[in-house]
Amino acid sequence: MAKARCGRILGEDTYIEEEDTTTLYFINNLRAYQAVLAALKALDQDICHDGCSLPSTVNKVIKRLGKLKNDLKASDVAAKEKESLLSKINSFLADANRLPQDTSQTCRKSAGECKIGPGCFATGTLSLIDITEPKAPKI
């Protein structure tokens, strides 16, 4: 069956067979994590570096990537694609692990430094994952 291109993750084009929604689920999630990690790296250069929301979000990303990895391992995604996607998850996990994870620091709003309003850039970046479709397959 012919394969169609459906994204580029870490500089490598990704392809799926038509109606292979399980593989597409993992690819689209990784496309989202690519954007989320870029935004979190930008945040790490901001006052968020000294706060607690960025580390909390990083911990969530690490946890979610870990779950995605386990789900991918347990899925019926073809072996070659599975191996390729797992290496990308490992790369994102390594990236995430280089970001702050100590949540004991004071929230920059509480410290009086962050004045963006009720929202939060760190938690807001997670919305990029929530917009992906298809939803998680039953594994």
């Binding site: 690519q34 990690l37 901001d46 850039f121």
Partner: protein, 114 residues
């Protein structure tokens, strides 16, 4: 107050540009979504520069720091690599994300700034 507003905008645009830079390595590089976002962010940064010029900020150092950050954002926006000929990657059959669009969601991060 003026400094605070400008600073919040700078913070927001810094994150948006970080995410958009990642999108240039994606299929979004050939997408009108990213092409439009580049124009939009470029205009936002330009407006920010004009707002800073018009602001009555007494501390010269604060003003100079903000100007330097805006200049850096302007450079980052200009350097976003977009293909010469773009088309929506959903229409082209390459982006199968669903209803939503990463680029629009990244621009929407600016809505967090009140």
């Amino acid at each position: 107050m003026q400094t605070e507003v400008l600073n919040n905008q700078v913070q927001g645009l810094n994150i948006v540009l970080g995410a958009l830079q990642a999108a240039t390595g994606e299929i979004c590089k050939n997408c009108i979504g990213l092409e439009g976002a580049k124009t939009k962010v470029g205009k936002m940064v330009k407006k920010l520069g004009m707002d800073l010029d018009a602001a009555s900020i007494s501390c010269e150092k604060t003003k100079a720091d903000l100007q330097a950050r805006i200049d850096s954002l302007s450079k980052a926006a200009e350097e976003l690599k977009v293909a010469e000929e773009c088309e929506c990657q959903k229409t082209a059959g390459n982006c199968k994300l669903g209803e939503m669009c990463f680029i629009n969601a990244e621009i929407d991060l600016m809505k967090l700034v009140k």
